[in-house]
Amino acid sequence: MKALVAVKRVIDYNVKVRVRPDGTGVEKDNVKMSINPFDEIAIEEAVRLKEKGIIDEIFVVSIGNNSVKETIRSALAIGGDSGIHVISELDLEPLGVAKILSYICKENKIDIALLGKQAIDDDFNQTGQMLAALLDWPQATFASNITLKEDKVLVTREVDGGLETLEATIPVVITTDLRLNEPRYASLPNIMKAKKKDIKEIIADDLNVDYKPRLETIKVSSPEERGGNVVMLSSAEELVKNLKEKEGLI
């Protein structure tokens, strides 16, 4: 069985994101970049399924300029077998990404596409669902548990107010949520090994896919700032009094 894991290079979650003064986006120069945390969970899950003997081969895909090779390598160090780098200089949207991934899934006869449920930069939470639609495959989003048995997969999904379980038939698209697993740290030998793994390059424009962005970003601004006006209190009584009488909250 073949798995595809899509990974996105994003600003590391520990970095304080700063909006550029000219409103064209956020500051990315000299900022630490990492694999999107949800995608790291996706690659970890694929590797675990491979260790159980269910998946035979894991393709790691990323789209972007040359820097995404580093992101692909970090997923290969966790245990992906080979990489696919789709070269594009455009800032793609979920629909465009899903179209490219759909092409790659067909081309490589993928059985399970594992994607993070959302990227922590644009926060769209769309790509997996769109990929499933374009391939006309079943989808299981926000997975917190995955059990594969022959051509069926039982997926527990994190939904508002509880958990839901679906039974889907392979091929399938699964998007991963936080509780699915805790990704391992790549060991030094595995990081070294990953450097030798093959990364195939594809040029996005050669795919004959309409992946151009549809939305126009007029500007990016800072959210309304809060804080700087903290009222420091000296006792529990004072706090309760404020919350009761001044704010009327409790």
């Binding site: 600003i11 520990n14 994101v17 909006v19 956020v26 949800f38 629909l95 899903a98 922590i120 930069d121 644009d122 926060d123 769209f124 769309q126 669902q129 769109m130 639609a133 989808q139 299981a140 989003t141 926000f142 039982l154 999904r157 994190e158 939904v159 508002d160 509880g162 958990l163 839901e164 379980t165 679906l166 039974e167 889907a168 038939t169 399938v172 936080l178 509780r179 962005p213 549809r214 939305l215 126009e216 970003t217 007029i218 500007k219 990016v220 601004s221 800072s222 959210p223 804080g227 700087g228 903290v230 009222v231 420091m232 209190l233 529990a236 706090l239 309760v240 919350l243 909250l249 409790i250």
Partner: protein, 305 residues
Amino acid sequence: MSCLVILELENGAPTRPSLATITASRKLSEDVDVLIVDGDSKSAVEKSTNAKNIYYLNENSENLIAEQMVELLRELSNKFDYILAPSGTFSKNFMPRLAAVLDKQMISDVTKIHDENTFDRPIYAGNAVATVQSKEKIKLITIRGTAFDPYQGQNGNSKFICLEKPKEMKKNKFISKEETKNERPDLSSARIIISGGRGIGSTENFKIIEGLADKLGAAVGASRAAVDAGYISNDYQVGQTGKVVAPELYIAIGISGAIQHLAGMKDSKVIVAINKDEEAPIFQVADYGLVGDLFTTIPEITKLI
């Protein structure tokens, strides 16, 4: 302009985020149609939304999967300029799938409507706001429920239109749903959240937080540091990689205020920080601060309420 709002119901009435979505929809279109999957709630929905047309299913169905929702909406969508739904795991599941079927780029989590084509949406977990413009002929949008006031309906005069429940899918089926057996409210909809951080020190000590939460009818949350330390499971995690929340009152206890945590709670209306370190960054976003030992302060507060 024509607009369809897909509503979520709870106890036979639209949820607060659903009513917020109605408010948002009226900024785009005078006439608003709604779709519900529970026909028994038709008249409650008529009163609270003043919808022109109410689409409902001939058979009540709670657990439609994304593929079925897309079957239901595929044809119907072409009648509308806008398709809106309150942002939540239900809409996040089917709306992008529908958008791709219609070959449209969807806009998630809209917090502000500038005009018929221009919308604000938070990015980087709310650390930045993108203003985006869409020229798509059908605009699929999910609405952040905390960003709009709930619509106040008066006696409606809706037309009811019955739709056939979509068939079961061959390749994917609903098996079961396990509602969280939690007497406390859900993090994403709670009015008050009490969160604990690494300062709590142990799983056992989280009971102090829970005691206060129960007294206030609040949800319990945690910082990533507390989750990573193993004090509490990560479904309680508030932050950029956990849940993004915006309650009326957020009380952060023993939380230093890492960027990752602030990103998940800074839109709360009133923030209270209780920490023994007066230099903790959490005080910079708080409205009220209390420097002190949480093991004496929290029981005191609990007693006073």
